[in-house]
Amino acid sequence: MSSTDEDIRLTYNKMVVDELPDEAVDALFHALADPTRRDILRRCAAAEPSVSRLADVYPMSFAAVQKHVAVLERAGLVTKERNGREQRVRTDAGAVGRARQALDQLETTWRGRVDRMADVLAPGTG
């Protein structure tokens, strides 16, 4: 199982891109192609700032920050949530699912490696 699973992981990035419709890939590229938007993505992964708090961080207008957030939102990289008068921004939904995904990747990688370790140790091949 190890090599196939790990191949899948190694080519995962490519597959994700291949599986997305062209418009979605374009939206992703466009969203990620800007350093401010990448920075917004990082900040909103660690916390869930409001748009106005984000606007305080960057030397640009509230409207400009709002526009960046809208681009990220269209690419499915952030979600906005209304909280009273505030709009909070967070990177994607379902942090639990993402944690699982991260641990899945680690587990697949290391399981494959441990299986191969056993092969290297096997008498006659080591």
Binding site: N13, L32, P35, R38, R42, A95, A99, R100, E107, W110
Partner: protein, 160 residues
């Protein structure tokens, strides 16, 4: 199978693998301490690994790359944080550029290895995880959009 137990901790963001080998501790340690042996298990058959630098001392680095079926290379760097041959090894695992330098902004995972004699063979306990939820989030976003990120990095360079 070799892996006898996997424990996951979604709160702690760690995964613990326990594997029992029918070989003495010294031999299992050599899988890590001998770069030629390390190469034999690091990458899957389709992506063989080549170890370049191998300094298994605290603060030392192990750098390697894996070559894909079409010749594309992906680089990694392990930074050794603690080592106690033949029983313990701790390191951070980072994506690296072609010169082996860990990429700035790329997420890092942490690995803790313990080896002990067990039932005439060796029990290996490995804990892998992330230092923080933020680190994990970065790892996932790299994992899913890593190719895009790299392409975008190149675009940034092209666009100045």
């Amino acid at each position: 199978m070799t892996v006898t137990c996997v424990e996951r901790d979604d709160d702690d963001l760690t995964i613990t693998l326990i594997a029992d080998f029918d070989a003495p501790v010294d031999q299992v340690w050599e899988l890590w301490s001998d770069p030629r042996k390390l190469e034999r298990w690091l990458g899957p058959p389709s992506h063989p690994a080549s170890v370049e630098k191998h300094d298994l001392s605290p603060g030392g680095e192990i750098t390697f790359f894996m070559t894909g079926p079409e010749g594309a290379r992906s680089w990694g760097t392990w930074r050794v944080t603690a080592v106690d041959p033949p029983a313990a090894l701790e390191f951070t695992d980072a994506f690296a550029g072609a010169d082996g330098t860990p990429m700035a902004d790329m997420p890092v995972s942490e690995v803790r290895l313990r080896l002990a004699e067990h039932g005439g063979g060796t029990r290996m306990e490995m804990r892998c995880g992330f230092g923080s939820r933020e680190e994990m989030e970065r790892w996932v976003s790299m994992g899913t959009v890593e190719g895009l990120q790299q392409a975008v990095g190149q675009m940034d360079a092209l666009l100045g």
